[in-house]
């Protein structure tokens, strides 16, 4: 009999099976994900999601009998007062559900299961990718980091790898037959014993004169002494630790792509931006933040709101603060440039910017805005997305929308228009679809 403790075995052995299952019901999950973005408040987007699956899609068909056809016999327990030949009206719900002795047992019902947060986000952002990643990685090779790269024969003492060194030392000592320390100790102990015996023999000798034995003992002692000497020599010749044994941890410098990103949220805070428009913008910002989080170890957020002047604010003020005044977009862009120069050197940071606005801008500011974007900002940014939020569809073309038309050709620029919360995800999807870059 054998008792084995398997509790420490790796968990979730069926992870592979689960992935296969998820792939199988992808279309259904996509629908759930779409519903999620439409119905859920965006703030809890960052959690898992329930997916209900209908039996149809994941059925495993087998040859089985049609329940409505043919005749069946059941033997069932618990008869009360039925007599042979009694006839029982079938319950209307279906044939023999009362007797239900059907051996096929319970059918495969539709069921609901949970997607984990990661699985949910994976599907949520499936087919999307951050544009212009490759380019910036090459640019930002500047920072490097050390990583382990095997062992070296020399190095500084603090990098000595004791395990590898002792392994080699042990191998060499075995190969060259270096005597063990305990062998030497044993020989010395024996020598000691032989010596005392020889000495005591010496004492006896003067009394009764047994020459033969006396000679034997001292001979033995001499032999041992020689042996000890040889062993010592050999131990000196084959040292415990030899310079050839030494191994040091080796480190190599590897270029580290910049994996930190900063996301600028720019928003028009003038009176024309109502709460609902701000909410639309917020949804977009949150999506972008989630998305960036999946690609970068840390994503910093900078909120800049502007009227005719711009200021960096905290998130709360950004979304809920009220201000009045005109609209000068270039003020926000200048503020952004200033912050980049101060805190986010381009070689270390991936810079993303999203601007949300209802499209208003003072006419006299447009040339300056376009010039700032075209000459400076777009080249610094990985991606600059402009979304225009509106209450309803209208034929009116806003100042920013028409002004930004000439930026369309720039690879780092994208714009889109959102009128309703349900459009956020499709628009986001469109902006970041992985095949976008092909054009």
């Amino acid at each position: 009999m054998q008792v084995i403790d398997r509790r420490q075995n790796p968990k979730s052995k069926s992870l592979g099976n689960r992935q296969r299952f998820l792939r199988r019901i992808k279309s259904q999950i996509r629908k759930t994900v779409k519903d999620a973005i439409e119905n859920r408040s965006v703030s809890d987007l960052d959690s898992g999601e329930k997916v209900s699956v209908t039996a149809n899609e994941i059925g495993e068909p087998t040859f089985g009998f049609d329940a409505a056809e043919g005749s069946r016999n059941y033997v069932i327990p618990g008869n009360h007062d039925y007599q042979r030949g009694d006839r029982i009206r079938k319950p209307s719900g279906g044939s023999g559900s009362g007797s239900g002795g059907s051996p096929d047992g319970d059918g495969e019902d539709a069921f609901v299961f949970m997607l984990s947060r990661d699985e949910f986000l994976n599907l949520f952002f499936e087919d999307l990718e951050l544009p212009n990643l490759a380019k910036r990685k090459l640019k930002s090779v500047a920072s490097e980091k050390w990583s382990r790269a095997g062992y070296a024969n020399d190095g500084s003492p603090q990098r000595l790898n004791k395990y590898q060194t002792m392994r080699r030392s042990l191998a060499r000592r075995i190969a060259l037959k270096r005597p063990r320390l305990h062998e030497l100790n044993r020989l010395e102990a024996e020598f000691e014993a032989a010596q005392t015996r020889a000495d005591s023999d010496d004492g006896k000798h003067s009394d009764d004169g047994k020459h033969s034995e006396d000679g034997e003992h001292s001979e033995e002692a001499e032999r041992l002494a020689r042996l000890i000497e040889e062993t010592r020599d050999r131990m000196r010749a084959v040292p415990f630790l030899d310079p050839v044994d030494l191994r040091y941890n080796r480190f190599e410098q590897t270029p580290k792509p910049a994996t930190q990103a900063v996301m600028f949220c720019l928003m028009d805070a003038s009176a024309s931006m109502t709460e609902s428009l701000k909410d639309l913008a917020k949804r977009f910002f949150i999506l972008l933040h989630l998305f960036l989080n999946r690609h970068y170890r840390s994503v910093e957020l900078v909120f800049i709101r502007h009227t005719y002047t711009a200021a960096e604010v905290d998130e709360e003020t950004f979304f809920h603060g009220r201000e009045t005044g005109g609209t000068v977009v270039s003020s926000a862009l200048e503020e952004m440039l200033r912050i980049i120069r101060e805190r986010y050197p381009v070689q270390d940071w991936n810079i993303y910017a999203a601007q949300a606005s209802d499209g208003h801008n003072f006419d006299h500011d447009m040339p300056r805005t376009i010039a700032l974007l075209q000459r400076e900002i777009l080249d610094l940014c990985q991606y600059y997305a402009y979304i225009e939020v509106g209450e309803e569809e209208s034929s009116y073309v806003s100042a920013l929308w028409s002004g930004y038309a000439q930026l369309e050709s720039h690879p780092h620029f994208a714009r889109a228009c959102v009128l309703d919360p349900t459009e956020i995800y499709p628009v986001f999807h469109k902006l970041f679809a992985s095949n976008r870059q092909a054009s």
Partner: protein, 510 residues
Amino acid sequence: MDNRTLLYEGSEWDFNHLRRVHDAIEEIAIDEMGLNVYRNQIEVITSDQMLDAYASFGMPLMYSHWSFGKRYSREALLYRKGAQSLAYELVINSDPCVAYVIEENSMTMQTLVIAHACFGHNHFFKNNYLFRQWTHAERVLDDLAYAKRFIAECEERYGMQTVERTLDAAHALMSQGVSRYAPQRPVRPQDAVLKAESRKSHHEATYNDLWRTLPKAKEDAEKEDTAEQEFDAAALRLPEENLLRFLSLHAPKLKDWQREVLDIVRKTAQYFYPQQQTQLMNEGCATFIHYQIMNRLHQTGQVNEAAMLEFLHMHTAVVTQPDFDDKRFRGLNPYALGFAMMKDIHRICQSPEPEDEEWFPDIAGRGDFMSVLRDAWADFRDESFVLQFLSPHLIRKMRLFAVRDASDSPHLSVEAIHDESGYREIRHRLAQQYDLSKRDPEIEVTEADLKGNRRLVLTHRVRDGKTLSSTNCNRVLRHVANLWGYRVRLIEVDADTGHTLNNYDAVALP
């Protein structure tokens, strides 16, 4: 033997206690009950791991397939919601016999599980004729490891989707993938020659010129044609009930790895076939054994009253049989009926009534009930076991009655109840209920044209008017067509009248 020291106290378990309990039980099981078991291997697992094992046919290693993921998701959900509790144990027919126990079990539960799984099921696996004939306990785990590796390699080489399609198709045919009869031994060529010669000499010896004057029954050409067809059928060994084997041997378009995949699924199905045929007996045997062992442990003072009460509580829950009109009724509980039948045999052997003398002259009053039970466990399956051992006493006790449900009648009719005229009828019908070959549709390959249009014909022999459900049938047939590579037809033929009831056709997707 009596008044030994307690094996354990309280509900906490540890590995030493497991070992002591196992040894104490072994003493009773082997020496007193005469059981014959494989070496035991007890593995302690967590509930997550139990769910894992649930999902993949209850096997410790299994190849990857999405359906296992689906099953896991559902089981996990039911478990988390509390709609379903986990089994206390899971046991695998292998040598050594692997039994999984959950870490959350109390010490009494572990004792019960060791008695139930490591000696009950283990004895049954080792001795029942179906298991001995059809499964190879010593190499099950190796086979599974091989299957897992092979499928993983295929996925790597041919792509996940391709392998998945083949596996889906194979899984759909799993219950048509078992051989129900021992393979027919092929005729050796020299025997065939001998047979032909003896027939010839028989013809010569009984030659009568008068036969020549009779008119010939058929045209020669036609005869030759049918002869050739018959030859084809014989070469393919038609009709063939094992669809998976037939496809893996003869499907013209399959690649070698696909044939191997079909064989893997077929072997898995075959491995489980004895378990499906003996569920009632297997559980009955294990339950009876754990009941005997626990009582014996208590008698000899090795477990205390508290443990015994806990055990009885669980045991009663397991062998509860709700009546047919009870909300909890889910068909006959194999634990309940199996245990009741074993107890009944015990009763017949030890204190028979006149009725039992008449019904079971061989075993009534024989006293040594263990040897009767051991023989029964070795030589029967559910169907034959019920047919042989279900007693009038038990029919009365469980108040069994037989009901007929015909689709063309608005009524259910009671065909037999627990009275003198009904015993045999009930026994017969209950046995039929456990006959797997009657439970699954009877589908065979009857025609396969390998030269002309390459059409494959399956025939379903319809009994009692039970036709196939058409949506499922069409879907499975599409799988068959994809494996076969050409058109496939399924004909439903009434077994009694020979009339054709339905036709299904499916073509292979390119």
